[in-house]
Symmetry: C2
């Protein structure tokens, strides 16, 4: 590896050394009948030794395989791609205004030249400069809230996000986009769904599975989709915008309460569970998929309920799980426990006395299923019925992750466990699906 | 509802009362050009008011919609269907011998006539009497190990299962079937995969999503598939046999370490994750799907490693999770912790000191992903690299559930945390997939 050409090895490295290129140079690649020009960008440490990656004028990254007949030319000296923000564009009154809030994550990250690994370093306004198409869709304003990995976000950050969204909506923007690490984006999307009620305009969370430096980056297409949805979608809900398939053809909009990251690395990692996705964007046009959406209405008055109580835990049940784990949470002052039980909503009988003690101590205990697809039904087997009789709250087809977020939110709305229970069972933001969608496909096996 | 016709309401109840029928009677239904005869069985409490359900001679249950022109006749008095075991069949030396071990679950359950709910009550030999087709496939012997809900199974039960399987294999049977509750069947399948090494014959776990009394029961077809695989499959591995799709067309065989229950109620709830399924059964014939299977070889010597240490916990990470949860497990004497982290294998930095303390105390800490699909890669982001540096063990594409089981198993093989680590990183029973199957489909969105 070369210090000046991080990530490049073998054939590709040799070809670049031959023309004296370094990262940031404008280079031209001539291969067969195709001429490509762009800025040389670093490769990830996991790349092969055959491809050279350039960022072409549109902002997309392209990897070109170097063969013995490929010709390379260095046609311009190093510029630091995308690190210097251009001056802000002039306000265009003919376009809707969208606020992009930066919170961190891969979509706002670059490869660390020193280690080859990814660090969150780009500001939200940099994003705008990297994706020039945005300027034709909306007048974009940016605000950086945080610049942290999404796994480091806490319920307190959700409150700040919700309050900031409300502030920008009060200013009259046509939509809000939140750039977010994908790891915990599902949880934040659920949190905003409960905190931002009666929305007048869309609030779109967006992330990237591959950083903007990589040839296969989904950052630009996802961001374009998110801004399109925020500025023009007919719905006014909290949604997540990501690739529908591994290709760039479609961006899918998932409801904030029904979405889950289901793959560690694929661009189509996010899936709507137990429901239809909200909408799809193809060729710049938005198709609604759900019929029951809240229509956009700039005059509707947002109801902000930004508080969360973090004295709630998610406990995934496993064989032989000790009841002491439940007792410990009670003794530590937790007010709510979401169980990720088995099948239709079960845990072992050995834990029942601890569950009973927890509920007697005023702890709200709710049940979801680690199956992910389907819905809990605690009336079928005696273990389930006994849990119901103790006061465990069955949460239907709600995702366990959404259930935890809702528990934290409900606990912040009232001190009374019965009112928390009523809130949990109320369909606040489409976290419960109608029974008619029960036959939504579970994961497919293999191709 | 009638006490003597549990589950029946409306039209269907009236038609049955008209002919004085009760559960267990042999009845004839004439509808259009079709004549059906079978034993009247109770309906679940969730059924509609139009269908009458009879068990026909083949053992299948059929629901017939009652219309004004449908004719019903009571042609025989009440017999208790399937509750009385017939005398054991004569040993047929022309057929392979298969042991069916009963552990409980829906496949071995009946509707409780009193409450309409399902209770595990049928013995393994009853199963045999309900599915007469089995007698053409294999000579079946049965042993009841337990009769409990699978969520009540513990690592101690896995040891008993493994030892009993070994005992029957030592007797020279051609295969073993274990009937099991579906809720925790994935965990038990993983446990047996580690406990039963160098298998000479197949060990097939099988369950049912709908009890044998329900018209849509998958109990008979799954059991037939399991016995077929145990007696005739060319592989000698631990596998789970369940419906591949909602229809009865195919039974799919999942490797014990790569299978997960992904739907609360569908018959095709089980999915192979991050790999190809092992085999498929269509029309009684077994197609291998995986190429790298261990072939059946009656002379191979089983290596039994039936012990598990239950001082291991599965902790699913969530936003704001307190590091005290990790400290508590250490103070309680847990020897292993499997984290279900976010994305490529992350948890919040706030927990890092607690992870460090745990490892310094000799606790083995391993990382999986709550994404389910894909694989952890802790080299990409600094949070992941810092966890690696502390000694957290990245478990590739291993399922979190399988990882917990393997941790419990590895802890029982050695006292040395380094040896536990080496065992965790060794591919013992295909719990790690090659990187080439990385593009296995994640769940599909919607039809």
């Amino acid at each position: 590896m070369s210090d000046r050409l991080p990530g490049y090895r073998g054939l590709a490295l040799r070809a670049l050394l031959d023309i004296g290129a370094e990262i940031g140079d404008l280079i031209r690649i001539i291969k067969d009948d195709t001429i490509l020009e762009g800025i040389l960008i670093p490769r990830s440490e996991y790349g092969d030794d055959k491809h050279v990656v350039i960022k072409i004028k549109s902002g997309y990254n392209i990897g070109v395989e170097i063969t013995p007949t490929t010709k390379l030319e260095r046609i311009g000296a190093e510029t630091k791609p995308a690190f210097i923000s251009p001056p802000p564009p002039e306000r265009r009154t003919d376009l809707p205004t969208v606020t992009i809030l930066g919170t961190g994550g891969t979509i706002a990250s670059r490869v660390d030249y020193r280690t080859g690994a990814v660090r969150p370093v780009i500001s939200a306004s940099d994003l705008y400069s990297i994706v020039p198409e945005l300027s034709d869709i909306a007048f974009v304003e940016t605000e950086i809230l945080f610049n942290i990995f999404s796994e480091d976000l806490t319920p307190r950050h959700w409150s700040i996000m919700a309050e900031t969204v409300a502030k920008h909506i009060a200013r009259g923007v046509q939509g809000v986009v939140i750039t977010h690490g994908t790891d915990m984006m599902g949880y934040s999307a659920a949190a905003l769904s409960f905190a931002l009620q009666n929305l007048p305009v869309p609030v779109i969370l967006v992330g990237a599975q591959r950083s903007e430096d990589r040839p296969s980056s989904d950052a630009a297409t996802n961001l374009i989709g998110a801004v399109l949805a925020a500025s023009r979608a007919p719905f006014a809900e909290v949604a997540v915008a990501m690739h529908e398939t591994p290709s760039d053809d479609a961006i899918i909009l998932h409801r904030g309460t029904k979405v889950r990251k289901c793959h560690t690395s694929r661009r189509d990692a996010f899936k709507t569970i137990n429901a239809k996705p909200l909408a799809r964007i193809i060729d710049g046009s938005i198709q609604m998929l759900a019929e029951d959406y809240r229509p956009r209405d700039q005059n509707r008055k947002l109801i902000l309920k930004p508080n969360f109580d973090d004295r709630a835990a998610l406990i995934k049940f496993y064989p032989g799980m000790s009841p002491k784990i439940i007792d410990w949470h009670v003794s530590e002052g937790y007010r709510g426990i979401v169980l990720e039980g088995s099948g239709l909503g079960h845990i072992r009988r050995e834990c029942f006395p601890a569950i009973k003690r927890a509920i007697e101590n005023g702890v709200v205990v709710a049940m979801t299923s680690q199956c992910i697809w389907g819905r809990v039904n605690m009336n079928v087997y005696s273990n389930g019925r006994d849990l119901l009789a103790m006061g465990v709250i069955p949460l239907g087809d709600m995702l366990a992750e959404t259930a935890l977020v809702k528990m934290m939110w409900a606990l912040a709305q009232t001190k009374d466990p019965n009112e928390v229970k009523n809130l949990l069972l109320t369909n606040v933001a489409n976290e419960f699906s109608e029974r008619t969608v029960e036959n939504i496909e579970p994961p497919r096996a293999v191709k």
